[in-house]
């Protein structure tokens, strides 16, 4: 019997060794083969980490596409860093929206000696991964993680180019109560870190401004039936419904709201300010409002172009965070150019000095690595299109509202 065990274990080890050998054989990426032809070209790898499988894959692929587009644009332009011609290369990894996989993927990117990483999508993935990037000295910009916890660990390598929940939520709240004069507000969130964080911060602000919370309801990021909660909300006769979540829920939600004859305003965050929202909601989307950090896209240098380029390249509309992914790459490259080096140790200090006009608006970081409070634009759907309605200047002290959360 013991002999069997030994044989089995030996077999297992051989199998593992074979696997290891296979793994070893495959990794050398394309550039090494090309390198000898053009020795003067320096290859700089940019990591992209997001979920490419599972229910959130559409958003993860969107981020990766944004990074890919940036890399291609940069290569087409021909960038020089410290006098060397540079070829950028994307290393895309799938974190499966799974925190465990996220740390593995992070380690893999560090091992692959990427100069910088754009990722991850979920706060649940970005937070554990941030430690590994910090240990490896690789700067990380999350295009989409909005949990205030992400930047609270004090790592120098951790940045984000998305407003965190403590920034966007209160602004949206001030708009709802101040400008739209909402007095009786219903709030729905999608039970995710993003949706709930946004909704909680919104709730705190509108409560502080004296509005009444008619109902606080929850759904999930996989659901498409909201009739039950909307019916309950209808009974409370709110004048405004706020949704913390993203477009696959927001679209059907406003549709069902109209079917139930609810006439309240519908407002949400950047997660639903997408072309897909209008497609999913159809005519019902008319009048919906959503905030998005930054100035209106067509006022941004390159904003409109970006959307067109994306569509031409990938044959689909921008889902959500592709512009953030795109800008994140440029933030890194600008820092590299200023430092004259693609070595993370050298250009890392330059990232915190970033002052860049991106597709999403002005990008600058505070001392924690959060996006500095910029203007936030409120959009409204009119004739099947998101039209900018108003630019809301931020009020100071976003830190206070982030602290309120805990």
């Amino acid at each position: 019997m013991h002999k069997h065990t030994v044989r089995h274990i030996t077999a297992a080890l051989i199998a593992a060794a074979l696997l290891v050998a296979c793994g070893k054989e495959t990794p050398p990426p394309a550039p090494k083969a090309e390198a000898p032809k053009a020795p003067e070209i320096m290859v700089v790898k940019i990591g992209s980490a997001s979920p490419l499988t599972g229910p959130q894959a559409h958003i993860g692929v969107d981020i990766r596409n944004g990074v890919q587009l940036a890399v291609e644009d940069l290569n087409a332009k021909g960038i020089e860093i410290g006098g060397n011609k540079v070829k950028f290369e994307m290393v895309a990894e799938d974190d499966e929206a799974n925190p465990t996989k996220a740390t593995t993927v992070a380690q893999k990117l560090v091992d692959a000696k990427v100069a910088a990483v754009v990722g991850h999508f979920n706060s649940g993935a970005s937070i554990p991964a941030s430690k590994i990037y910090a240990d490896g000295g690789v700067p990380q910009i999350s295009p989409s993680s909005t949990s205030p916890d992400y930047t609270l660990k004090g790592y120098k390598t951790t940045f984000r180019v998305v407003a965190h929940d403590g920034q966007q939520g209160p602004t949206l709240g001030r708009y709802a109560v101040g400008t739209l004069k909402a007095k009786n507000i219903a709030i729905i969130d999608d039970s995710t870190a993003y949706g709930q964080g946004l909704a909680d911060n919104f709730e705190n602000t509108v409560k502080a401004m004296g509005a009444k919370i008619a109902a606080r309801e929850h759904t999930t990021d996989k659901d498409t039936d909201f009739k039950a909660i909307l019916t309950k909300i209808k009974g409370r006769k709110p004048d405004l419904i706020m949704f913390g979540g993203i477009d696959p829920q927001a679209g059907p939600m406003i549709k069902q709201m109209k079917e139930l004859g609810i006439k309240a305003h519908f407002i949400g965050g950047d997660g639903m300010q997408t072309p897909n929202f209008i497609k999913l909601a159809g005519d019902a989307s008319d009048g919906a409002m959503a905030s998005i950090p930054g100035l209106p896209k067509d006022q941004m240098p390159g904003g409109k172009e970006f959307l067109e380029k994306y569509k031409a390249k990938f044959n689909q509309e921008v889902e959500l965070f592709a512009p953030m992914g795109y800008d994140a790459v440029f933030v890194f490259v600008e820092a590299m150019k200023r430092a004259g080096s693609a070595d993370p140790a050298k250009f890392l200090p330059e990232i915190s000095k970033t002052d860049y006009q991106g597709v999403i608006g002005p990008i600058a970081f505070d001392d924690k690595g959060d996006l500095k409070n910029g203007p936030i634009t409120i959009y409204k759907v009119k004739d099947g299109k998101w039209e900018p309605l108003e630019v809301v200047k931020p009020e100071a002290a976003p830190a206070a509202s982030a602290a309120e959360k805990k």
């Binding site: 559409h58 498409t224 909660i229 309950k232 679209g251 059907p252």
Partner: protein
């Protein structure tokens, strides 16, 4: 009162979709004693196929009624073939295997279907193009659209037709015989292989219609959409008494109403301790309670530990 009536309407429409999917589970379980885990994903394929048909036909300028008819038929055809294939390739060889084997195969088939769909349709949420603007009307103070009414009526019609079919047709009789005892049915001249294949075909085709309804009702399609729907529908089938066609219908409608009422009222009933965030928990709690307290379900005769 208005709100209550509305919640009942919501629940019934949602429940009729559950019921249609539940039929597929219950028919297969009745005959094979197998939980066809992949059934939710067959519904998903039905939904995405009909979505594609609608997109193509609307773009070609086909009148709405014809679009719906063709999309429905196309989805049914694809799903029926798929159901037959799955039965033949993945389940039939395991008919005499230990219980765990077909169940694990079913999980494998479910994963295969999901990721094949992801390859074909991509991972984006797909929007339904506008076909017809549904009419709105009010019943007992509840808002109802013509689409909701149509879904409910069509579901009832299909279920009634199925009940009649099983009771009165030759094939239905063969199905019932196979369900009671496949070996004896075989001895009596019933070709059990054909009967089982037919059951899969029928269940998958009905699943396709449910998929079409989901697409029309919510205006959205996604490769992962079959999973939760399948779980809920399975719950409905268990609630009604798995293996019992009438039970699946009752269970589906009941589950829809329970979910609506729970999401609508639990917050007030518990003073805000529980809320609509526990909506999915209710479905599973119903499932566990039924299995523990009355494993045969509301209308079923089989006992829960039928092994």
């Amino acid at each position: 009162m208005e709100i209550f009536a509305q919640q009942i309407v919501n629940g019934l429409v949602l429940g009729s979709i559950y019921a249609l999917v539940a039929l597929g589970y219950t028919m297969v379980y009745g005959i094979l004693g197998l939980i066809n885990f992949a059934h939710g994903d067959i519904t998903m394929i039905g939904a995405l196929v009909s979505l594609t048909f609608i997109q193509l036909l609307v773009a070609a300028g086909v009148p709405p009624a014809a679009v719906l008819l063709l999309a429905g038929c196309g989805a049914m055809l694809v799903c029926a073939v798929l159901g037959l294939t799955i039965e033949r390739v993945a389940y039939r060889p395991l008919r005499r295997a230990p219980r765990l084997a077909p169940l694990i195969t079913a999980i494998g088939v479910s994963i295969l279907l999901q990721y094949s769909a992801a390859l074909i349709w991509g991972k984006q949420y797909i929007a339904l193009p506008a076909i017809v603007e549904p009419l709105q009307f009010t019943v007992f103070g509840a808002q109802l659209t013509s689409l909701q009414a149509a879904i409910f009526l069509l579901a009832c019609l299909i279920m009634a037709g199925l009940l009649w079919f099983i009771k009165s047709s030759r094939m239905g009789r063969a199905m019932r015989a196979t369900e009671q005892n496949p070996d004896v049915a075989g001895l009596m001249g019933v070709n059990t292989n054909t009967v089982i294949a037919f059951t899969f075909l029928l269940g998958s085709a009905i699943g396709a219609i449910a998929g079409l309804m989901v697409v029309l009702y919510y205006g959205i399609g996604h490769y992962f959409m079959g999973f939760m729907l399948g779980l809920k529908a399975f719950t409905a089938a268990v609630l009604g008494g798995i293996g019992n066609v009438g039970g699946a219908v009752l269970g589906g409608l009941l589950l829809g109403v329970i979910e609506s009422l729970a999401a609508g009222y639990i917050g007030d009933l518990t003073g805000g301790v529980l809320g609509s965030n526990y909506r999915d928990v209710f479905a599973f709690l119903v499932l566990i309670l039924v299995l523990v307290l009355r494993p045969s379900g509301l209308l079923g005769q089989h006992s829960g530990d039928r092994a």
